[in-house]
Symmetry: C2
Subunit: 295 residues, 2 copies
């Protein structure tokens, strides 16, 4: 049986070290302190791990994909900071700690989010990681990430999520919202990993199918955890979807069918990897981890 | 005498057409409608014009610099949307129209800003404008813009601006704040224009000095207009700096010395162009325009 726990622990350590190194010195800057506060507040590092694991799955070096992997966490963290704002989801707690606007203030939190988003592109275009040889590949990575995170991806998803509070969504609309809000960046994570690892087009297409399925599975299990999860383990409140009258998979299809749906999605993700060898075992293990996670 | 009025009018038309074309279709998206609302609400288009004029000044084609020029306006507009938010400057009026959060709502405005910022990098890395030949140049442009707009540039400047309300700043701290908040992106505008126009390092260094001086001159005249300007012409309220107890050039050095300082800065900007030929006449004219502007 594959030892995912050790793999995740090692990758998280590698990623956390790299994230810390990529941030400018925070000594004299309230802005950078706030960016660092949210970035280093824990978190599963799912997107960077997927990026590194995808790079390894296609036979690449994990190290080469590390800057892209880190940048995905910058963008994920910025989206959490902005989503938590009083004008959005108005959350006080994230990853078990006060949200950025609670620990600092609202204007600092808005700017910290902006700062993390912009720094992502500064890193991807920095001469430290770019040379004549990999310039075209690097631009493809920038395109994948900006497209997934942007107004036809994650941001549109968040807009739809906010606009649909108190509305009863159809399964189709709910799925579209999640595909945009979380699916797009998860798909970009494996795509960028595969690009950095010099994967073929066929590899990338299979990995995209893998990502689409685990992205949605992640969301379905998120909805289930919001009902059944332990707030102490999750580091955030439970039951918030119901009190906000949000459409969720359990609210539309019931909790048992939601669990079956999550299992089916994870099964599909594993099938998408059928032509990959042992190097994609971490990706396979991540699928199962998503199904059985407690937070 | 150089006919700047016609030059600006033509460039603005060219830029406005290109901006509109670069936005995704807004038909079904509240998010993109809000992005479009703020982007197309008028504005001087100073940064894109500087980018195009710098490209021409070094002998480049204005067309090649057009995507970079547009992206600078995307980023400028995003920064205005976020700066106007209730948690920041809390402004109701911008370019003579309700600010984005007034015309839409706060969460839409935050996301519209995020969307414009992210779209900037999507455009710069899009295969529509990128090929094997210009990939390295394009990455340099992305780096210049993200660095200038980021947490060691514009965003840090806005953080300092907010933090310094009700404080008496020294001239040195005031200048540093403005250099970050507006100077960095203005400098990036001419640098990116010169990069796209294949300018030499010497060209770029001279243009950076030009930009530093007009950037600061722009801020000094902004402070003067906030006291002496006509709100009807400016499209925004006057006297706001004093009521917010902001440190400004007039509040520190008096209005007459501020005017002399602006003249000196514009003079320095013209000196920086002394080795450029007639092709840099638009840049020279922009310097004088900044000194004499009414809005």
């Amino acid at each position: 049986m594959y030892d995912l726990k050790t793999y995740l622990k090692n990758k998280r350590e590698q990623i956390n070290k790299a994230l810390d190194k990529l941030l400018p010195d925070s000594q004299d800057s309230r802005l950078i302190s706030a960016m660092k506060y949210s970035l280093m507040a824990g978190g599963k590092r799912l997107r960077p791990i997927l990026c590194l694991a995808a790079s390894e799955a296609v036979g690449g070096q994990a190290d080469e994909a590390l800057p892209a992997a880190c940048v995905l966490e910058f963008i994920h963290t910025y989206s959490l900071i902005h989503d938590d704002l009083p004008a959005m989801d108005n959350d006080d707690l994230r990853r078990g700690k006060p949200t950025c606007h609670k620990a600092f203030d609202e204007s600092t939190a808005i700017l910290a989010g902006d700062g993390l988003l912009t720094l992502a592109f500064e890193i991807l275009s920095s001469s430290e990681f770019v040379n004549e040889k990999n310039a075209v590949k690097q631009l493809k990575v920038i395109y994948e990430i900006s497209r997934a995170a942007g107004c036809c991806g994650m941001i549109e998803g968040q807009m739809r999520d906010i606009s649909s509070e108190n509305l009863s969504l159809s399964i189709k609309d709910l799925e579209k919202m999640h595909t945009l809000k979380t699916g797009a960046l998860i798909e970009a994570s494996v795509t960028c990993g595969a690009l950095m690892g010099n994967g073929t087009k066929t590899d990338i297409n299979s990995l995209k199918i893998y990502a689409k399925n685990i992205g949605l599975a992640f969301q379905v299990t998120d909805d289930i955890l919001n009902i059944e999860g332990d707030p102490c383990i999750m580091g955030k409140a439970a039951g918030t979807d119901e009190s906000r009258r949000k459409s969720t998979y359990p609210s539309i299809m019931g909790i048992d069918s939601s669990k079956e749906f999550a299992e089916k999605l994870v099964d599909n993700s594993l099938k998408a990897l059928k032509n990959f060898d042992k190097k994609s075992d971490p990706l396979r293990a991540v699928s199962l981890y998503i199904l059985n996670r407690k937070r």
